[in-house]
Symmetry: none
DNA sequence: TATGAATGAGATTTCATTCAT
DNA sequence: AATGAATGAAATCTCATTCAT
């Protein structure tokens, strides 16, 4: 088992060292990845509070000790996942095009919503955990609000450029986000029997009606 | 002095056994009421999972023993509250008038949404706990889905009577409910700074736009 | 900090799940052993019902947590001990020689009864707990009956080979076992002041009289 | 509700008073009787420790308050029952005739054992609870030992009058009692399938063999 | 880097007993 | 004489986190 390592050390000079170190680092990274994935899975299945470190560790096929080697506690793991989601959502919002009453813009919105629904399928449970607001009212709780706030703000910015919209862009954006998030959730838990595309279509239609008068 | 408490000892009180079985006198009823109210308050403040029976009991100014006299555990209390909410929501939905493109209907909807927002302010934490899906995926969890399903169905029924609406009434209703519920939530937790009436107005506007073309 | 402990939350650890599942290392095994020994000691001193997990844990010099790492509850520990006793009794019964009206056989029986009395001194409290029938009328309760049944059956088999015995071997064997067990018990709790050897002698004499006519 | 009482008080002089008092006393006695009977039943079913005051009270169709009106606690009820058993056993032992190697004496013994088995059927669980020695090592615990001691002593007295018995009468008597008690128990719980009379016959035969050489 | 074992604070739950009517 | 309600001490049990190897 140690044979390879020994062999590597035989190589004279530094060349071998980095490689070996990189090897170890790779292993650690793999472990972290396994834990994060397990975290998503377990949080999804049971929610933040019912998730036990033990469940995560078992699914990741590691030990408690290892868990605390990489994360300072359960919330820490959650926070890292939340940051990931935040990044994804931020990236996503950048892809959102202009909101104009054109067929092209509408098609673009539909595609964008499809991506959102996919994202929600993967990370939804985390997003819900934020909004469930049951997490200790600390940093992590605010983190969720912040991400959601930025997400909404970015949309509001687009909404603001729509002429002749009587309502406050902030409020309209929030109504949109609310609908999109919750509808995705309902679709996810099977409250309504629809495919990913149908969800996106329905949301597109609803959003379009809210934003634009018919020509 | 006597205290054998093997867990397996008795069938672990199917939730609800205690209080539903016995015929309560006035005093008992008062106590149950106090506990239920304390439950709402505590669940609101800290969420379902962070709520400890101890908190509820303290707020209700009774003892642990008394709590378990009437409820078999925390979830049991929650279930009873959830049933109440279900009743209130069902009652509310009956008050929803026809959805027609008239000023009167619109005013009625706005009033109705105000009532909803008030209700949400009182019971919101419970509703969220349902949807957070963090409660054991048992009876109680389904209870939430059921109530929400009935609520949505009732709205769908009204929506179906609107002529010339291109989208599926079920889906439209769900989009509406999603928006209403989540927007109320965002408003409640202060994600957006708006009064009860402003929330109702915004929701009315958004809903109206989704449902009706301008004359 | 995290401490949601709704009882219903997990299937309440079928007794035995913990320790039987995991592969124990030396240290773990030592701990289990300490707990089992402490269990015998505490059950002996105070009886099954008065024994608190706390007592066992203290005597074993471990913590509550550790106890529940290996046993799902008090009854689980008891069950494991009962299985041990069952094994010992089964092994003992194999050592019982033929029952013949010879001096050698009688001497052998006396020795055998001495061993039994020793065993009873060690495990008696457990055996009594079975028969006290105070333990939940479940698996564990039946366990006792089973072991006792096998024990009696093995003796009955020997008895059946005695010629000219007018009574039913089964019944005779049970009468013997009844006498042996209960007399040991009386001796143990000091109902009668006799040494281990005196108990064995008395039982031998009584048994011999029941089984054989004088030559 | 107070009407009758008032009416009774109208009757001049004492005549009415006693009758009324006697009435009340009778009611109280009936309640005590109900509680004692319920005690036997519940102790029999579940043993001393698992018996909850609540079970007894429910079976007796009274309330907690009433229970503590007549008994100072659970042990008190048990003690009163134990005293009853003691009385019965003492009475029974007086009926035991001489132990002589005659057919008449043997027949008498068999009848006596039948009575014992009947008694055991009714009070056995209490007797076992004594001997389980799990009751707080107080007065009540000793009570059981005492009764059993007297019972054994009375038998030892008869045994002592048997000529040519090589073993100590005390020890022999105890062996007899041990066998009788435990065998009855085994029969009671169905360890062996025998009728009351068969139990008595088997015990008679075994006892006789222990006490007398064949003529 | 990894791990199984151990810990103990904190939550839940039971039930004998007392209280007020 | 009777009762339903309330109590709280004491027990059980869980699980996030630390430790020793």
């Amino acid at each position: 088992m140690e044979a390879d390592t020994t062999a590597a050390r035989r190589v004279p000079g530094h060349p071998g060292t980095p490689a070996e170190k990189r090897q170890l680092r790779a292993r650690g990274e793999r472990t972290v990845r396994k834990l994060l994935d397990a975290g998503i899975e377990v949080f999804s299945r049971t929610g933040y509070h019912n998730a036990r470190v033990d469940d995560i560790v078992q699914l990741a096929q590691t030990s408690h000790g290892t868990f605390y080697l990489y994360f300072s506690n359960k919330e820490d793991l959650f926070r890292r996942l939340a940051l990931d989601v935040g990044d994804e959502l931020t990236a996503l919002v950048d892809d959102l095009g202009e909101l104009e009453p054109t067929a092209a813009a509408r098609a673009h919105l539909r595609d964008w919503l499809r991506t959102f629904v996919d994202l929600y399928r993967h990370y939804g449970p985390l997003i819900r955990a934020w909004t469930a607001a049951e997490i200790e009212t600390t940093e992590t709780g605010r983190l969720g609000s912040d991400v959601l706030g930025r997400f909404t703000a970015a949309i509001a910015e687009r909404v603001a450029r729509i002429p002749e919209l009587p309502t406050d862009p902030q409020v309209t954006a929030l109504a949109l986000v609310a609908m999109i998030e919750r509808f995705s959730f309902f679709a996810l838990i099977g409250q309504v029997e629809v495919s990913r595309d149908e969800v996106a279509d329905a949301l597109t239609e609803a959003a379009w009606r809210m934003l634009f008068r018919p020509s």
